[in-house]
Symmetry: C3
Subunit: 340 residues, 3 copies
């Protein structure tokens, strides 16, 4: 592909340079090589890119370069994503069922489905057109998976779970395991049967070794377009909205409701029955024990509005001095009182 063709593909404005030059690869600033197109977000990084070996640079509309051609785009990070996707299309499994896969007789496989070695597909399961099931995956009885999904090795999807189209699940994740709910009968913890399901909507992506529990009754739902990272826990009956982002090691307790577009940074936790409004954000490690309003950003343990928590954190650094100052001040007041 030439630089000019790439610019056209990305809807970017080519500034400087010869549009006929061959693009050999696409890479971030740290790994750019000769012939590569790289990408920057600001002037400082552009200076670094110009000093490097890259052929050309994807950059925001405003920037100018002296030494390298620029591909200026309104959303340069999006242009970078598209350039990567066009240069490095994901490898696909060949359609067909590996002879070693264990597929129930009454499983329904759509056109072009691929199933890898030693995958196990339960009775009555349905796999949509073009879906790829990697090696050693366990799909339970009656599971329904839509079209063009990719299920990586060692994923386990329990009985009755329903997965939409274009969903990606990375290795080792578990969908539909029993919720964690018990009743003490005076002698032991009696399990509250979890007979509900999990619904994973279209375009959801789930990282590695993440766990999503089925509902007690009813549904645990992961909304359309939501992306979940590795080692995340989503407990029974939680309702996750559309286009949410849940980063690594986030924990969602039971019956939580997240509005659309909620973002939770790494290791944040949300307590039982808490609701977070549309577009709200929990910072890394936030312990969210109360409802959060739409658009609000919360931080800390327990989580508070970010401005409040940052003022508290700043003041906390003064705390040891305050203890001393307070003691000293009390003495001075006592002195004054004596004098009067």
């Amino acid at each position: 592909m030439t630089l000019g063709e790439l610019a056209e593909l990305l809807g970017a404005e080519l500034s400087g340079g010869d549009g006929n030059q061959q693009v050999l690869g696409v890479s971030g600033l740290d790994s750019a090589a000769p012939g590569h197109v790289t990408y920057v977000e600001d002037e400082r990084r552009l200076t670094a890119a110009e000093a490097g070996p890259a052929l050309a640079v994807i950059a925001p509309m405003g920037l100018r370069a002296a030494k390298k051609p620029l591909l200026r785009a309104a959303n340069p990070r999006l242009a970078f994503a598209r350039a990567l996707a066009s240069f490095y299309p994901p490898s696909r499994m060949s359609p067909g069922v590996d002879p070693t896969a264990s597929v129930a007789k009454d499983a329904a496989l759509g056109e072009g489905v691929a199933i890898g070695p030693y995958a196990v597909i339960g009775e009555g399961a349905k796999l949509g057109r073009g879906t790829q099931v990697h090696a050693l995956v366990a799909i339970g009885r009656g599971v329904e998976i839509g079209a063009d999904c990719v299920i990586h090795p060692h994923v386990a999807i329990y009985e009755g779970v329903r997965v939409g189209a274009r969903v990606i699940v990375h290795a080792g994740s578990v969908i539909g395991s029993a919720g964690f709910g018990y009743v003490w009968d005076g002698e032991q913890h009696v399990w509250l049967p979890h007979v509900g399901v999990v619904i994973v909507e279209d375009e959801v992506e789930i990282g590695a070794n993440t766990t999503i529990d089925r509902a007690t009754t009813g549904q645990t739902v992961i909304g359309k377009g939501t992306k979940i990272d590795n080692l995340v826990q989503v407990a029974h009956n939680s309702l996750i909205g559309s286009n949410c982002l849940l980063a690594g090691q986030v924990g969602i307790s039971g019956s939580v409701k997240l509005g659309d577009g909620v973002v939770l940074a790494g290791q944040a936790g949300v307590s039982d029955h808490v609701e977070m409004g549309e577009g709200s954000v929990g910072a890394a490690g936030a312990d969210i024990i109360r409802d959060v309003k739409p658009g609000e950003i919360v931080l800390g343990r327990p989580a508070r509005r970010i401005k409040e928590q940052m003022r508290i954190d700043a003041a906390a650094a003064r705390l040891p001095d305050m203890v001393r100052e307070l003691r000293e001040l009390r003495k001075r007041v006592e002195e004054l009182e004596k004098k009067l």
Copy 2:
């Protein structure tokens, strides 16, 4: 089943309604459908239930209803659990060994054992009567598992681990992996061999993708009736008592001792060698670095007694104001000192 039969099964008192009506299902308030029996804990929820489609409502002894029959029980949540269990018995694998399973010749299988496709059972392993081993499970050499256990897909149980009866392990969990202990020899970290075992006692239930490490020497023990959620870490040589509850993403460091009935909420962590007394509780995200007395509830990072920590958290909100007030007060005292 009729309403009257269900009441009898639950030991509940049927109040109002026709005992001959057919019960079509059991579900929580949010997912109740016509013909279903649902359940509430208080008056407010009962009002909601009465406005919904359910046929009847499991409720505490004291409540009264105008529009729906009640099944009044001393422990309504327990009655609900039993109703769910009777309506939706868990699906069982058919007894027998799948022809694709890899079972060592000298493995001992009890009567009625079920082993799924591509499960691997190591040399000398013993599986008790009625135990179900799902697809793609890896059971190591010399592992002993008691009667009526359920081992879900992708569980790995390392060499020599001993599991009691009626134990459930959800998908992807690992029992008996090497403990994390190293000695620096001046040039590198030398692994301290972990040659002990893990003992999982009767009626323990373990969630998905949880990890339990074997002891350096001796035993890591999960006590009878203890329930562990998803993505929990239990390190080497820890001794977990009976009937504990460990919620999602809890982390137990090495050589920790938990008394019977200890409860740890989500993302709580317990440091090396810490002991928590019988019936003590660690709140969500608590960082427990010191011993906890029996019955004590602790909260925070570092964890303190809950009342103390809640007072600190409340005071923390005043901290930025305090910085200002303290400064102002010092000025006023200076003024006073000048005047005198």
Copy 3:
């Protein structure tokens, strides 16, 4: 093995006792049995060991014992590790490929490689001499693994990952899954393709159910001799130095740099792009959001230098009293002001 032979093997000084006595086992203080050699670090533990059934005690150079022979060593914990290793050598798989394993025709297997039941080895993968791949492992296309590695059940290694020699990966861990990076295009989250790799250097050890993501472009690197515990998350493009220790449930965000010998205790988290200098330490649960200098120890949320944070934590306990004292002091100052 006799006590004298063990002393020689460990380079330890045998003090008291008959060097010809048979050693029957090696174990920690809590699990020592007659005939066993145990180990202590201090006088108090030595007193306990002398009251127990052990035959002899590995101890620091300075200690003296009245009742048991001592094996005195400069680094007694290292001597204990070596004694354990010599008494309990790890079990090895027999060389050879299990007939049920699915090995690509063009995979290259070194001499003495062992591959367990239902393991899946992708096209063009290379396994070094003496490497053991356990049952049900999934090795992707083009993966390269060095000599004498041990890959436990259910590990998934994605396409193109490169693993050095003498590496151990415990059950359920995932190496090379897609990084978590998205760009909002105004309507949906568009995935930033992660086309880089993961490099795992020699002597790295990885616990169970840990996840290591591949780089966007370039490399995620786990440096030589680094040890990683269970349920740890290492995100895309992070560069982990040599001989680091990452304890259970640690979370490393994207593009983090850890110098050599960094130690992170359980549940610590490191934010995007943070750098931690050589030999620095993050305490349990630390939320590390700013760069850390070499050798520095940080604690807390947000993490601060340990001395500062411990002073803050100590002062925090006084916080509720301070609120009251401040109020009282204000009143007294007001009184004084009135009087003047």
